[in-house]
């Protein structure tokens, strides 16, 4: 439990890796300690760039190897643009971890379906690390990943490794093809129809834009995956991450503490409603 939940703790940037033209990964360590950063897959931190501002970013690293602390994000606003310019040795403020996690413990024995859209792959990567480290505890593992174009494919090297394994089915699709692309074209929901999983003994973790999650849940439902076995990660504006600022309210929930990961049947009545 954080005693001063609003106080950022300075971390030093150990590595900055450009992932695609607008996404990057930061590896962070807390100076003066060998301890790692304990978190559960799906949780997020508030990252502060000195003098610029603070934003919520999910943790994209391996929960079993919590040092360094790994974040992957897209440069879209003032703070993430400043974050992208950080270099090894620079410092960043960290508050967290916050929020609910993907319930990997409840999914033991199930087939695992991961459906990611765009940067939504980042908060799902810790699940994949966990599942692969405990491979015999799970049934089939399916990763369905959709992105805008071949140039936007995140974690490409790792995806190649995962695609090479016999114990994962990793399918990638792009919205818009390029000259050299020989893979799938179309929305990620198309992949759900083809993927090999037992819908009655599956748990699905879905992360991406709301419209993508909307159609993903529908398609999973068509295949027979019940809503109470589907988990989604929601996003809203967030200032404090501890339930004080009110910004992240989604109906009766605070995404910072009741989310970001929700069991879909719990929020179905709000999901897809205009401007909630």
């Amino acid at each position: 439990m954080l005693v001063q939940p609003m106080l950022p703790v300075p971390y030093v940037v150990d590595k900055v890796r450009q992932e695609t033209h607008d996404t990057f990964t930061l590896e962070l360590n807390q100076p003066g300690t060998k301890a790692g950063f304990s978190f559960l897959p799906g949780q997020f931190n508030m990252l502060y760039v000195f003098g610029v501002g603070e934003v919520p970013i999910s943790i994209s690293g391996d929960p079993l190897a919590p040092r360094p602390l790994v974040h992957t994000t897209r440069a879209v606003g003032t703070v993430t643009a400043a974050m992208r310019k950080l270099k090894r040795g620079d410092m960043l403020g960290v508050r967290g971890p916050f929020g609910t996690h993907w319930p990997i413990e409840q999914a033991t024995g199930d087939d695992i379906i991961l459906v990611a859209g765009g940067i939504g792959l980042a908060p799902l990567r810790p699940v994949l690390y966990h599942v692969l480290a405990h491979r015999s505890s799970y049934g089939k593992v399916v990763l369905l990943y959709g992105t805008r174009s071949p140039a936007d494919i995140l974690f490409q090297k790792e995806l190649e490794v995962w695609r090479g394994r016999f114990d994962i089915e990793a399918l990638v699709t792009v919205d818009r093809s390029s000259d050299h692309w020989r893979g799938n074209v179309g929305v990620v929901t198309n992949l759900i129809r083809r993927a090999g999983f037992d819908p009655h003994h599956s748990t699905a973790f879905v992360c991406g834009p709301e419209v993508m999650m909307h159609f993903t849940v529908l398609e999973l439902g068509r295949r027979g995956v019940p809503d109470n076995r589907v988990f989604v990660s929601m996003e809203r504006n967030m200032k404090c991450a501890v339930g004080f600022c009110g910004h992240c309210q989604y109906g009766p929930t605070f995404i910072c503490k009741d989310g970001p990961v929700f069991r879909f049947d719990h929020i179905r009545w709000l999901f897809g409603k205009r401007e909630v």
Partner: protein, 372 residues
């Protein structure tokens, strides 16, 4: 029950000063009764009252010398416990890095004087928001711990009051150190006093007082009963959460948005609204940074901004968010309504939108639909 005579009210202020409290209470300023520092009994709005209607607030002279003969003004006590603008921490650059210094606790013990029953509820509601969850807001907690509350049982109901509907007043029942009922007879002016805590009893012992007689106690009961019967508004709260959840999609929201200016007045005057934003600032050298928190409102477009644009870009969605939060989802979040029935949002809405009426309209539209 005890009695403090009007001429000994100053002794109450002095007793509080003596124990190190900063005394805060109602005073007349800029044509309104506001909450600010009060040093002497003459700082209080003696002989003033207020008239309230949707979008209307007027101070009027009373025929007597009542100190608390008004209802509630544009201010609420939340500004003292949850300041409109507050520094959360400072940071200083050193080499490639920086260090973060928490804001020192400068809070002084505060005594709030003249807190209405609805406002006591509002204080309890905000306290739950800031200290009742998995995280505790340290500044709020520190100020709340040192608080001394002199409550006031209402002798007047305003045109926009509906505390009876919200079951928050007009009688103060909990959350105070002392509770006063102001009584003005043909020939006497006094306060019937109830102590609600040991701290209250201690202060009372520093002020000239005596046991209340039966007739005085009865007078206090009558004052509150009369006020309860004079509520300007009412709100039917039965099933209100389900009502609003059922009507996420309803033509009423668009209709209200035709009038609503999205000015955020209702959220600023509301004694329970707690939303805030943060501002990160640096000095000119760039070596010193600070984070400030300030009140924010769900009526601003930026409030819901995520990459790509605001989630709630229309006024109808923002009004729906505010009212549904206040009257419905608050119950799921904190176990009580977020509304205490003070009527401020009705009075200070520049176009006089009345939430009691808007809820009534939604309810009535369902009844009509059911009949058809």
């Amino acid at each position: 029950m005890f009695v403090i005579e009007r001429e000994h009210f100053q002794a109450l202020l002095e007793a509080l000063h003596q124990r190190g409290f900063e005394t805060l209470g109602p005073t007349v300023r800029d044509g309104a009764i506001v909450y600010d520092r009060v040093e002497r009994d003459t700082d209080f709005p003696i002989g003033w009252t207020d008239e309230q209607e949707p979008a209307r607030y007027t101070l009027k002279r009373r025929s007597d010398q009542a100190m608390f003969g008004y209802v509630v003004g544009p201010h609420s006590w939340k500004k003292f416990l949850f300041p409109p603008r507050e520094r959360l921490w400072s940071a200083a650059k050193n080499g490639n890095g920086f260090s973060v210094m928490p804001e020192p606790d400068h809070s002084r013990p505060l005594a709030l004087i003249g807190v209405r029953a609805c406002e006591l509820s509002a204080l309890a509601i905000q306290k739950k928001v800031f200290t009742g969850g998995p995280f505790v807001e340290p500044g709020y907690q520190s100020r709340a711990e040192k608080l001394f509350v002199v409550a006031l049982n209402c002798g007047t109901a305003g045109g926009n009051c509906f505390c009876v509907s919200m079951q928050t007043g007009p009688q103060a029942t909990a959350g105070f150190d002392l509770a006063l009922t102001e009584i003005i007879d043909a020939d006497r002016h006094y306060f019937v006093v109830e102590a609600g805590s040991q701290a209250g009893t201690d202060i009372l012992n520093d002020v000239p007082h005596r046991q209340a007689e039966k007739v005085e106690q009865q007078a206090a009961v009558t004052v509150v009963e009369q006020t309860a019967n004079r509520m300007g508004r009412k709100l039917e709260t039965e099933g209100i959460k389900e009502l609003l959840y059922r009507n996420f999609e309803h033509s009423a929201w668009e209709e209200i948005a035709n009038r609503c200016l999205s000015c955020a007045n209702c959220t600023m005057v509301c004694p329970t609204c707690f939303c805030s934003t943060v501002e990160d600032v640096t000095d000119v050298t760039g070596d010193h940074a600070e984070r400030w928190r300030r009140w924010d409102s769900c009526f601003s477009v930026e409030f819901s901004y995520i990459h790509g644009g605001p989630v709630r870009s229309t006024t109808s969605s923002r009004y729906r968010q505010w009212m549904t939060h206040k009257l419905a989802s608050w119950i799921d979040q904190f176990g009580t309504s977020g509304c205490v029935g003070c009527g401020r949002c009705i009075t200070w809405c520049p176009v006089g939108i009345d939430l009691t009426e808007e809820v009534h309209n939604i309810r009535a539209s369902e009844r009509t639909a059911n009949k058809q």
